[in-house]
């Protein structure tokens, strides 16, 4: 088979192949998926001279330990990640946002993300992956995407179809900024909640719980009281929707969310804050800040310009 490949010595906790995701499928029950933190995903690809929408390896918390076999290749890791590169008997600590060249027998050991959730490993080339609906993104709940829709497993071999001839080493000084306030647009069922409940939502602190994954982020905090009905007739969801079930604790829909749901929607996270929201690890405190539609649109435009600017400098 391929002469360039990765052997997975340790897969990590939740390591999957991801790309830009798949669209036009909500109506049959298939969510967007794709890299959770899209800015870090794009930067990873740019650092290794890939097309921006190439497949990468996404990991959460503990990442994979990989052994590489084949001709020289570049790789880069983005996020806030602690990792090392091992060549024969020498092990060096790696820096995020910097590409490295590895050769036959080298190992990459991604120890963990630091006070964040997701990190990205891009290899300068093309991974040999199966595509479903124009995307390799793995959705482990529906077993859709490459790798039979499953996480990476120990002992697995991942082949590379092709290695980039452009092996220029690249670097950028990007720093992931943490935010405490997540900006939110009022949801379609905002008025289902009591005046006290609405006030709590925008004034009190919520904690990210461990029951969070690529599907959703469950929060805990003072109970948000519903005065109309704790259920609505099931209807479509999008990523970023904040639902409040009967127990009064908000759940934020993330990239692998169920496509329809029947809990009232108190708000929707503004697109500008999505990349940073998904990086909030269990125990982090969140405060919601209300913004209107036109501010949300302007802020997203600025965020997108900043992303393009970052990418153009790499």
């Amino acid at each position: 088979m391929s002469s360039n490949y990765l052997d997975i010595i340790r897969p990590g906790i939740n390591t999957t192949f991801q790309d830009k995701g798949r669209d036009h499928l909500y109506h049959i029950g298939i969510p967007f998926s794709g890299a959770m933190d899209s800015r870090n995903y794009f930067i990873a690809n740019k650092l290794v001279n890939n097309d921006l929408d190439s497949a990468v390896i996404e990991f959460a918390y503990q990442g994979p330990h990989i052994k590489y076999s084949g001709e020289k290749i570049n790789f880069a890791i983005t996020g806030d990640v602690i990792f090392s590169i091992k060549r024969k008997d020498t092990e060096i600590e790696g820096n995020c946002y910097e590409s490295y060249q590895i050769e036959n027998g080298d190992e990459i050991n991604i120890i963990s993300t630091n006070k964040s959730v997701y990190g990205y490993l891009a290899l300068g080339g093309e991974l040999d992956l199966k595509f479903q609906w124009n995307s390799c993104s793995v959705n482990t709940k529906a077993n859709i995407g490459s790798n039979d829709g499953k996480k990476l497993d120990v002992g697995q071999r991942v082949n590379l179809k092709k290695i980039n001839s452009n092996k220029d080493i690249k670097k950028t000084n990007y720093i992931n900024t943490k935010i405490e306030n997540i900006r939110v647009i009022k949801g379609t069922n905002f008025d289902y909640f009591s005046e006290v409940g609405k006030k709590i939502f925008f004034e009190k602190e919520f904690t990210v719980t461990k029951l969070s994954d690529r599907m959703g982020m469950r929060l805990e905090g003072p109970k948000i009281d519903n005065i109309v009905n704790t259920n609505i007739k099931s209807e479509g969801l999008i990523k970023g929707v904040i639902q409040v079930p009967a127990d009064g604790n908000p759940i934020i829909m993330l990239s692998d969310h169920g496509t329809i749901g029947g809990y009232p929607k108190i708000g929707v996270v503004a697109s500008v804050d999505y990349d940073r929201l998904v990086q909030m690890s269990p125990g982090s405190k969140i405060k919601f800040k209300e913004i209107n539609l036109s501010d949300a649109e302007t802020l997203f435009k600025l965020y997108e310009m900043e992303t393009q600017n970052l990418l153009s400098q790499i």
Binding site: N143, I238, V268
Partner: protein
């Protein structure tokens, strides 16, 4: 028709067709869904029809709420009493191996097992929407005397193929998933097949479904024929 269009966040339209759940309102939702889907408006990346709402989500890098709203308001939604809607027979086995909640249903509905099956089988149900999990159809309406609430504590794992009831609706679990609906039987049919990219769903919004009972032997042999 659409009663109101509002924004769901900054990257989706929330089209409200009313609050009731009935075939007539849902047909309007599906009509808009199909028309917009065919026209492939640049920037719209997903459409989610449900009982009485249509959510249109878009790529905020390419378009925005105002543009998409204007587009939807001026669209000529074609009547789609369309040729694409199918009538499907779904085999279901209600042997005790599968009908995990039959006792519960007997108690809640105050009907015998035989009567429950008689009420449920061989009737036409309309597919209002698909989703939650990939390919799951939401079918209705069940007879008035067949309506039960969902389980107080949902199951962690509902077997693939389970045919289940809640309120006026029936559904089919397209793969193993958590769920709280009352399980009545199981179908050996693959209702969702991700290897068929152009038609992964056996049942689509607007289709009509009839459940036909099969025996345990027929169930076991179903996929060997």
């Amino acid at each position: 028709m659409i009663k109101n269009i509002s924004n769901l966040g900054d990257a989706a339209l929330y089209c409200d067709f009313g609050n009731e759940v009935n075939k007539s309102i849902n047909s309007h939702v599906i009509k808009y869904f199909k028309t917009i889907k065919e026209k492939k408006f640049e920037g719209i990346n997903n459409l989610t029809p449900s009982y009485n709402k249509l959510i249109i989500s878009f790529d905020l890098k390419k378009t925005n709420f105002k543009e998409v709203k204007h587009y939807v308001e001026n669209i000529d939604a074609k009547d789609s009493q369309d040729i694409n809607s199918k009538k499907l027979e779904i085999p279901v086995c209600c042997h005790e191996n599968f009908s995990m909640d039959i006792k519960r249903l007997e108690e809640i509905l105050k009907l015998s097992r035989e009567k429950i099956l008689e009420n449920f089988l061989n009737k036409e149900y309309f597919c209002y929407m698909t989703g939650f999990i990939a390919g799951m159809p939401f079918l209705g309406d069940l007879d008035e005397n067949m309506r039960a609430q969902r389980l107080e504590t949902p199951r962690v794992k509902v077997p693939k193929g389970s045919v289940a009831l809640t309120e006026q609706f029936a559904n089919i679990y397209t793969f193993e998933s958590p769920g709280g609906w009352n399980i009545l039987g199981n179908t050996p049919l693959d209702v969702f097949d991700s290897s068929k990219e152009d038609k992964p769903n056996l049942i689509n919004p607007g289709d009509t479904v009839i459940f036909k009972e099969i025996t345990l032997d027929q169930y076991k042999n179903y996929n060997e024929q």
